[in-house]
């Protein structure tokens, strides 16, 4: 496959899995005729028909519950949240039913479904359309949570999420849909529980995910010029966290910075820091630095919005500061 945009990589993942398995279907608002709010399912209804690209009424809790029922009875639905924030309206079905039902049913039923769509802070979309639900949902047992960040990992991870027998929350980012990358011609799957070492290094471990991976990469330009050698890890799997990869890196660098787009309180970073404290406290040569979004509703104003999320310059400063700390 030639150079591919991220939204087309997702589309290819869905197309390939639908071609292979007639039980795979997509449900949600405007996924059929309209092709999805970010064109991830463009024209697929012409190939697979309207029942497999089911345009639902605007009823998030109910169509999410429908997907749970369809999954319990043998289909493999993919739900698209037109914007992931809308799925706050489906919190009950995601938490009580998708997440917990296998357990409360004592293993009677499995729920192979994917809940995917655009999340994150975009460009002046306002507070309600700038949510990072991964933080809200991480406490729900039974859910796997994945955040893609490149066309390559978007495709491989989504294919694996569709094949997984558990409910998978799959976060895309509104600002990454037009990223381009050359993808392999051959079919591939990526594991849902493995982080990616984006850059090997020895000074400090930077743990990040989704769009913040790209802010970290921007910061790298300056850092490399200044002679720093950070190791960058894209978590990809937010639940479970890949502590094999994270641990190996921390045992090497002994310093950690978390760069995330969710809010500081109760965020993914908060969980990572707590887990590092539990498992790797003795390995640390410095307190972990957590760079998160501010604990505020995302403001509409562009300047205020950019102050709300982590910027590359803050990452540079954090690396300078943590590496300068002598044991």
């Amino acid at each position: 496959m030639a150079e591919t945009l991220l939204f087309n990589a997702l589309r290819a993942a869905i197309d390939e899995e639908m071609a292979k398995d007639p039980t795979v279907l997509v449900m949600g608002e405007d996924v059929g005729h309209y092709g999805g709010s970010y064109k991830v399912t463009k024209d697929l209804y012409q190939k697979y028909g309207e029942l497999r690209l089911l345009d639902t009424p605007i009823a998030e809790n109910s169509f999410t519950g429908m997907a749970v029922g369809a999954a319990m009875t043998g289909l493999r639905p993919i739900i698209e949240g037109m914007n992931m924030g809308f799925l706050l309206l489906a919190f009950n079905q995601i938490a009580n039913n998708a997440g917990m039902l296998r357990y409360t049913s004592g293993g009677n039923f499995k729920i192979p479904m994917v809940i995917r769509g655009p999340g994150g802070v975009g460009r002046q979309l306002g507070a309600e359309h700038s949510q990072r639900l991964e933080a809200y949902f991480q406490a729900v047992p039974g859910l796997k949570i994945v955040a893609c960040s490149t066309p390559y990992n978007a495709k491989g991870l989504l294919k694996s999420a569709i094949r997984d027998d558990n409910p998978v929350l799959f976060f895309e980012h509104v600002l990454l849909y037009n990223l381009k990358e050359n993808l392999p011609d051959d079919e591939y799957y990526l594991p849902l529980d493995k982080a990616e070492v984006v850059r090997e290094g020895s000074d400090v471990t930077i743990l990040t995910y989704s769009r913040m991976r790209h802010h970290v990469i921007q910061a790298l330009k300056t850092l490399e010029k200044e002679g720093y050698d950070p190791e960058v890890i894209d978590l990809l799997s937010l639940k479970p966290l890949d502590f094999e990869t994270i641990g190996a890196s921390i045992r090497k660098t002994h310093r950690v910075i978390v760069v995330e787009e969710c809010m500081r309180t109760g965020g993914i970073g908060a969980e990572i820091v707590a887990s590092i404290s539990d498992r790797l406290f003795d390995e640390l040569d410095a307190p972990v630095i957590r760079l998160s979004s501010q604990d505020i509703p995302t403001p509409y104003n562009g300047t205020l919005e950019s102050l709300t999320i982590v910027q590359p310059a803050q990452i540079v400063e954090a690396v300078q500061k943590i590496v300068a700390l002598k044991v």
Binding site: G69, A70, N92, Y103, T104, S105, F109, P112
Partner: protein, 343 residues
């Protein structure tokens, strides 16, 4: 003076059931009643815990609908008041009782409890504890039948789904959202409202602008019927028609069963708001007494036949209790089991 809705007239003679069918319906209702009475006893004796919502008085609904379906083949979604639905679809009384005792042999392996009974084998998609949340799940199961038939070309996929819920649920958005989708896509589903007049302490007419729930189907162009929920044959007849419609691909039906719970909302409910006069009026409509009188009057059973059934069911319920008592607790080594599909 208790004001009650006029119950639709049903000509029992039209139902024409056989002796065997009569015995089966009677037996299922008695099983529901005796099982629930035993639950109350066990709850007060400290053998089961949490919230326990009993079904006494509403047996004609579970039996009338579910015995008209193909239990184990068709799908059923229930609520927190789910014991008797589970029994009617054929989950063994032993496994239901063991679940209420929190035992490993329970139908949900002791993980679910009273409000979360499940059986993949009997296609019981669960008891759902929050109001209305089972309706979308049931709608999904019904969609699945249509999908298998139309997308996957499976001619055998004519399963129907029944979603049970109460009058209080019909003021909830999921009810309307799913009625809309089921009608839009002509899904094979029965929305069965067990209108027992009370949502805990909220009288139905105090909570809704249109108390006649079955009429709410009309705005979706859906068949909506009201039926005497204390008359098993009336419920069964209405259910048979709705099931035939669903299997034929003609879409959903909203069935409003006018019924009454003979006990409080749960065993923790002091039940202070319902008047004595109202309760007495409904006790006089006891669906089991009504049906046994019918069976005898129609020469479909002798009193001693019914006594024999009563004794047989009492033995089944007593055996279920003994089974639950004798069953092991879940192993603490398996605390984490069943979180994920691979476990």
């Amino acid at each position: 003076m208790v004001q009650e809705r006029t119950v639709p007239v049903f000509h029992a003679a039209d139902a024409s059931i056989t002796k065997e069918e009569g015995a089966l319906l009677y037996e299922d209702m008695v099983l529901g009643r005796f099982f629930e009475d035993k639950c109350a006893e066990m709850y007060y004796r400290g053998k089961m815990f949490g919230f326990v919502h009993l079904y006494n008085g509403q047996e004609a609904v579970s039996t009338g609908v579910l015995k008209a379906m193909r239990p184990g083949e068709d799908y059923v979604c229930s609520t927190y008041r789910d014991h008797v639905h589970a029994l009617s679809v054929g989950v063994p009384a032993r496994h239901v009782m063991a679940e209420l005792f929190g035992k490993q042999t329970g139908c949900s392996k002791g993980r679910g409890g009273s409000m979360h009974l499940f059986s993949a084998e009997r296609r019981l998609l669960g008891g759902y504890a929050f109001i209305g949340e089972g309706i979308p799940v049931a709608t999904g199961a019904a969609f699945q039948s249509k999908y298998r038939r139309e997308v996957m070309g499976d001619e055998q996929a004519d399963q129907v789904t029944a979603a049970f819920f109460g009058d209080g649920t019909t003021n909830n958005g999921q009810f309307f959202e799913c009625l809309n989708m089921a009608a839009l896509w002509k899904l094979p589903i029965l929305f069965v409202v067990e209108n027992n007049k009370w949502a805990i302490g909220m009288a139905h007419e105090r909570s809704t602008a249109q108390p006649e729930i079955y009429r709410k189907a009309s705005v979706f162009g859906m068949a909506g019927v009201e039926v005497d929920g204390m008359d098993v044959l009336a419920v069964r007849t209405v259910a048979q028609e709705a099931i035939a419609r669903a299997r034929a691909g003609e879409g959903p039906t909203l069935i409003e069963c006018l019924t009454y719970r003979f006990r409080g909302h749960s065993l923790a409910d002091p039940d202070e708001l319902r008047s004595k006069a109202e309760k007495e009026l409904w006790f006089a409509r006891d669906p089991i007494k009504k049906f046994s009188a019918y069976l005898i009057e129609q020469n479909l059973a002798m009193p001693e036949d019914l006594n024999a059934i009563d004794q047989k069911i009492q033995a089944i319920v007593d055996d279920a209790v003994q089974f639950a008592l004798d069953s092991p607790e879940p192993s603490s080594n398996e605390l984490y089991r069943y979180v994920f599909a691979e476990d």
